[in-house]
Subunit: 493 residues, 4 copies
Amino acid sequence: MALMTGEQYIESLRKLDTQVYLFGRKEPNWVDHPIIRPSINCVAMTYDLAQDPEHEDLMTATSNLTGRKVNRFAHLHMGPGDLIKKVKMQRLLGRKTASCFQRCVGMDAFNAVFSTTYECDKAHGTNYHENFKNFVIYVQDNDLTVDGAMTDPKGDRGKSQGQQADSDLFVRVVERRPDGIVVRGAKAHQTGSINSHEHLVMPTQAVAEGDADYAVSFAVPSDAPGLFMIYGRQASDTRKLEPGADIDLGNKRFGGQEALVVFDNVFVPNERIFMNGEYDFAGMLVERFAGYHRQSYGGCKVGVGDVIIGAAALAAEYNGASKASHVKDKLIEMTHLNETLYSCGIACSCEGYCTEAGNYQIDLLLANVCKQNVTRFPYEIVRLAEDIAGGLMVTMPSETDFKSDLKVPTPSDLTVGEWCGKFFAGIEGVTTENRMRILRFLENICLGSSAVGYRTESMHGAGSPQAQRIMIARQGDIDGKKQLAKDIAGIKD
Amino acid sequence: MALMTGEQYIESLRKLDTQVYLFGRKEPNWVDHPIIRPSINCVAMTYDLAQDPEHEDLMTATSNLTGRKVNRFAHLHMGPGDLIKKVKMQRLLGRKTASCFQRCVGMDAFNAVFSTTYECDKAHGTNYHENFKNFVIYVQDNDLTVDGAMTDPKGDRGKSQGQQADSDLFVRVVERRPDGIVVRGAKAHQTGSINSHEHLVMPTQAVAEGDADYAVSFAVPSDAPGLFMIYGRQASDTRKLEPGADIDLGNKRFGGQEALVVFDNVFVPNERIFMNGEYDFAGMLVERFAGYHRQSYGGCKVGVGDVIIGAAALAAEYNGASKASHVKDKLIEMTHLNETLYSCGIACSCEGYCTEAGNYQIDLLLANVCKQNVTRFPYEIVRLAEDIAGGLMVTMPSETDFKSDLKVPTPSDLTVGEWCGKFFAGIEGVTTENRMRILRFLENICLGSSAVGYRTESMHGAGSPQAQRIMIARQGDIDGKKQLAKDIAGIKD
Amino acid sequence: MALMTGEQYIESLRKLDTQVYLFGRKEPNWVDHPIIRPSINCVAMTYDLAQDPEHEDLMTATSNLTGRKVNRFAHLHMGPGDLIKKVKMQRLLGRKTASCFQRCVGMDAFNAVFSTTYECDKAHGTNYHENFKNFVIYVQDNDLTVDGAMTDPKGDRGKSQGQQADSDLFVRVVERRPDGIVVRGAKAHQTGSINSHEHLVMPTQAVAEGDADYAVSFAVPSDAPGLFMIYGRQASDTRKLEPGADIDLGNKRFGGQEALVVFDNVFVPNERIFMNGEYDFAGMLVERFAGYHRQSYGGCKVGVGDVIIGAAALAAEYNGASKASHVKDKLIEMTHLNETLYSCGIACSCEGYCTEAGNYQIDLLLANVCKQNVTRFPYEIVRLAEDIAGGLMVTMPSETDFKSDLKVPTPSDLTVGEWCGKFFAGIEGVTTENRMRILRFLENICLGSSAVGYRTESMHGAGSPQAQRIMIARQGDIDGKKQLAKDIAGIKD
Amino acid sequence: MALMTGEQYIESLRKLDTQVYLFGRKEPNWVDHPIIRPSINCVAMTYDLAQDPEHEDLMTATSNLTGRKVNRFAHLHMGPGDLIKKVKMQRLLGRKTASCFQRCVGMDAFNAVFSTTYECDKAHGTNYHENFKNFVIYVQDNDLTVDGAMTDPKGDRGKSQGQQADSDLFVRVVERRPDGIVVRGAKAHQTGSINSHEHLVMPTQAVAEGDADYAVSFAVPSDAPGLFMIYGRQASDTRKLEPGADIDLGNKRFGGQEALVVFDNVFVPNERIFMNGEYDFAGMLVERFAGYHRQSYGGCKVGVGDVIIGAAALAAEYNGASKASHVKDKLIEMTHLNETLYSCGIACSCEGYCTEAGNYQIDLLLANVCKQNVTRFPYEIVRLAEDIAGGLMVTMPSETDFKSDLKVPTPSDLTVGEWCGKFFAGIEGVTTENRMRILRFLENICLGSSAVGYRTESMHGAGSPQAQRIMIARQGDIDGKKQLAKDIAGIKD
């Protein structure tokens, strides 16, 4: 079956009976909703670029399961080369959308579930790996987008799954039938969930023996009975609803998406189950998924960073400041930080290793280091961008003012739009509109809807900073390093 | 005349025929406009707190010109004690509003124009100081809010005032009459300009001899003929227009304001002129105003920082993470950074000196150091707040979802609002609503309309970072320090 | 009695029978030992500057106890003005010595013991305050230098005083007699202890009821029977022993000093006891001393910073790089950081408050913030200095090479010294020797003996960073800040 | 010919008539000089590890020129795999020596000269590549250590080579003969030059047409007539001369080395010339060497960092603080920073590309990013190590005190050594000596002779920070990024 185009992907979403709630109402035609559509356009870009011969090498791969050509987002990484291409593909998409393109969570989940089910089967005699292989082939052959769903609402962070006041605060098995299981709970902060055909659910943290019902992994389609989503709102989201909105959106075409996915007693047939009570493998699955996903940020956010650097350079050029040594130095610093993130993405890929199942896992230590840097440097990149952009980024009138032909009754007899055009002009040869465009883009990235993706998602996506620090502590081999120091210092115990 | 209450202040605004344009339209009842009103409420707080005996010592002072009690925002600082109280007053207001309360620019302009006109008169035999004293007495006695208007649009930053393609890109004198002057141009990024009764205009940078028409300072009322404002839009501004909006606003009652103020051939009578071509004093006026205003940030943003720290602590408490050592450490770091800013505000006040005119100027080096830190630390405070808050800050559904009683047709038969309440609950004993409130407050500060005030204004208000660095270089006495090093190192030239 | 000159101070040291051990030997003439003498010269500077009319206002004060003129290092601070002058005096001395001048610990101890004994007497009916006043008058009238001795060796940091394997690891009372007490233990890292006439001993941390013998404060002269010191060695210390050493010392005349002070059953007469078992006041004494001493760093290290900035500027000038924009920017950054420290020193002084005893205590929160910054910024200042200095700072030959007239048998027939002079020349008009001098000064500050004082002492002096963070947490009023956030966010409990 | 052992290497040095000046004297038996020997031991480790089967894969390679097994330090990198192994080999050696092992400069020079001579020959019809291949084969077959000598003294940084007051401040050709050239000048900061068999000289910066005599590259043995070295002194270097010194050295066995290498009219035969006036290739050679050498720091300093982290962990353990959450967090941060550096080293290797000559060049942008981080993170790692170590690191008595059996005449009748042992004890079960050892190791790294290698060399080795920023600016493709921003923001020129 051929890979889908972006347009075909969008049409495929219409065929699903996905239940979406937004602003307190059910939204039947969510595919065309102005707030949702930009996020769909991002996912569509993952299809369109795969059709482009220029990007074919990065965007597609040959399935190890079928030998058929698949979108790389549906691929199992079969070597460090695949892991590196993944990061480069993500940087490319960040450069093209300046947004979160959402399809990574599925890819990262595939690879983690693939290797974990293999080892779980070996330990427990289960048959999850075969189930999962069939699911991957189905996804690959139909070129589907999959939500890799991990994060539970979690309630009181001081309590484990079973200790919560409400047992539903983590997804769990509530019923086991001969033909399958019934699950209940929710997944929060689900990136691109509405835009996905399928949901691949995993536990959100290690599971203790007594909480085995929370050790569950499975896949269901987006329109499974009992499943629905509530849309998360973002800063400045309703600008997209303003009639004729263009400049003020900053990034008119693309955007991210987060939603709450509720499982209200959803049935999962046996062949779609990948973990069902094997609590001793929950931690491995979480760690591996998190590892892949922390690698991902060394690609996608770097691509967005490229656009921000370019925008800041343009903003400086447009107001005549591009020659100032401090501006040049800030652009260098932004580049330096951005490429440091990329280096981490590349390094944890290059140092990947083969799992027992045969696909490749990134280097866990370096992937956690990668993500830890992502919780810092984008904030500094944004700060520098705001510095270069100047205050106008947040004080300029709305697009409607710029376009208004209402006469202001003062001596010059100009319209509101003419006054805006006059006073917000930068250097000669650049229209005021273009100057506004680049400043609105930066506003969107720094403190608008895209800031959600570039900043807060950099902080919390794939785990909050402390999660990485715990992993760095575990992987850092402090004892080995103590021995090195003893050897040099002449200490013999 | 008694000081006004907040309510009286608001009513006084209605009596002005201020011309305000917003979203391409003229807004006749701007005082009650939901987007504008929160910023008015902030200014009103500067009146209300002055009525409160608890805060009287900080909020009011005795005029050196009249001996009458005045709002400190209309006061000339007569010693380091006054300068310090100014900073404490600003911190207080930041704590009460978590916003920019706008009235500082006028206060800072008063003090700068007061001392500069005195020295200008001495050098040029002009009579500006007397003009200005009369203006200050009028403002004090009528308890007015004044926009200290400095920043011109500036066009091409690589060119001086007179080199611009459009001569109006800096405010200038276009006509000199026996009874006054006619001025033309605009002031951009004007904080609280619409909420002000008067505008005290100053040059935006040093002026060379050939550009003497740009060396102009004067005051006009907000409804002077030929003067009008175009409102600057902010991130998430239209949330304030959503029916019943409360939680999603984050800070329902307060907010900041920036506008473009256009002077389309505005007439200024002689008694309101404080500089008219004396280009050799433009630089002094700019430097002194900037000095005071850079001090200000060591108070106001610290007050907002206090609220952010409290909100982050609450967010951690509400989700059961307040005992985590890394959370406690981040709150300490936020406090540390915030108090460092405060220390800079206090220090430049404490080290203030008496001008020839008799009022006190802050220590220029330390005030620039203060503001330089403000261009950095609030960004880190915000980053840490986002870290503690968790991703939900930017992924949760809208207030209308939380309040929706639409039934979701799944087995549990709950409403959208009930599902939201269920899955976004934190610790027991705290309502989900309260958790949402604190997260929306943080969203507003980190990347909503308040981020404009807390972050970008911290960057560019009172001058962008490089402006402070230039002043630090000038004030840093490198030659004196070289001599110290020579003495120690035994170098005799 | 008149204040001593530096020379008189040095002579006064000879009259003491202070027991000093250095490099495993007893050092009878320690006053003239090349390793020790630079640290004595620093203390002497505190005497000499007090004789200088230019600095009299900062260096001296009028005793509140006697009305007589005293060296400010022996003064009790009677208002914020005194606290501010203290900081300025310290900055002055830092500028003159580029070293730790050691006499601050005594001054800080005076002020802490003075107010604590007053409150202790009130609570316990003891008579320590009178004892202490007499001691202060003795010190003031004889213009003595006093070691404020706080830090015990502490052994296992995981255990309290009484739990240690060796009971001597904290100073304690081992015998109580009618006429006094016998104490035992040691104080580590004692700055300037050898150069002091007296030792004012305090507990190092809060004391629990069962450990009351560790709650002890007293004063003894440096040559009290049973008291001796072991000198701490520093990086590059033996360069001072090299014959003819000058340039390679970097700072030939001045330096710091740390020693272990051992109390091997030292008798303390009743009138020199200031705490003897009142464990409930140990914590207050520690907190107050630490507060003053954390303020101190906002003065002394700033003065050293001034010299470093000057030296870096000279190094750049001497190699022709002073015009480079990145060099200028680094000097600005160094100045900015240094003045931020100063601002913290000034602010915690300006915000000082009156104790019950009548002397002034600094603002505890801001003083801890001050010191916390000192644990960071000097490291960055040093890093920037190393950047500007260039690698030659650590790769150049020794002074003996520069001065060597040994002929090198190669075609040019030059001496070793001539070759050095030739190849390490910088710009024309500056001797190679002067270039070397400034680089060796920087080497000394960055990684020589002065680095001990400027870097490591900035880290650990007056308490390691975590000690300040604990205080910031305690003083930060998180609950008050939570309430502010609730008010703004509309949360009513 | 078999690879040498460390011992054979040391013996091979004795056979050279290398002229070494130190402390103003000629040092005939420099191989055994206590200050020099530790640096020789470091280089010897590059030989010994190559004999160790465990490390053979990293330490050796198969020559692309001869097919014979060679030490990797003499290898031309034939693919990204070689580049990555280079970084891993460097990390290994850093872990084993905690010092600069010096042999990298030669390796980096080989690879840069190899590819540059190829392209130069193509452009100019010269025969340098063949010359150079022969030289490499000679080095490989004899397993030699080579000083890659680039940095000239440079004099006045504001002037080019030919503008200097002294023409010798950059190495240049002073005479051209039929059989070769005569060169004159010096190379400063030469790492391991004395310990090298050969010197491979390169220009230090781009050369303009008029300065073509400065465009020269060649190789000469260390004992070539007219060549001599003057040793650079380091912080605390003479501790190595103290009788019985062990603990106080911190790192007794290993250390770095920098020297000035003077070429006083040295003759170079034709077959050893690799550039002779082709000024248009000087820039390429510099850029390529710098690129490789900037990569190197992503390996060697990371290895040293490993030892520092281990030492800090031990220091905390020894004083009972290893459970403190802030200590654990600081170790995590050190690990995080160290692994970020490693990631940059790996990434620029992984992204290497094939030169026209067939060997592999690292990715220039990422290598510069790598080194730029090295100019920052080691300083923060050191700061954190000093924080964890505690003040004792710089205040403890000398080793001779610890070992002294001189009785102190006080009641307890203990020796100086016993007092030291008593009061500097940490947790039970660890000897005071071992605690001292780890603190002295840290002192040596933070501000002793090893600080020269770990800190200052991290700053300036392979080019000072600004050099990397210039390269980052050049390689950052700002124009491409501007276009990305235009595409997203909807800007069509």
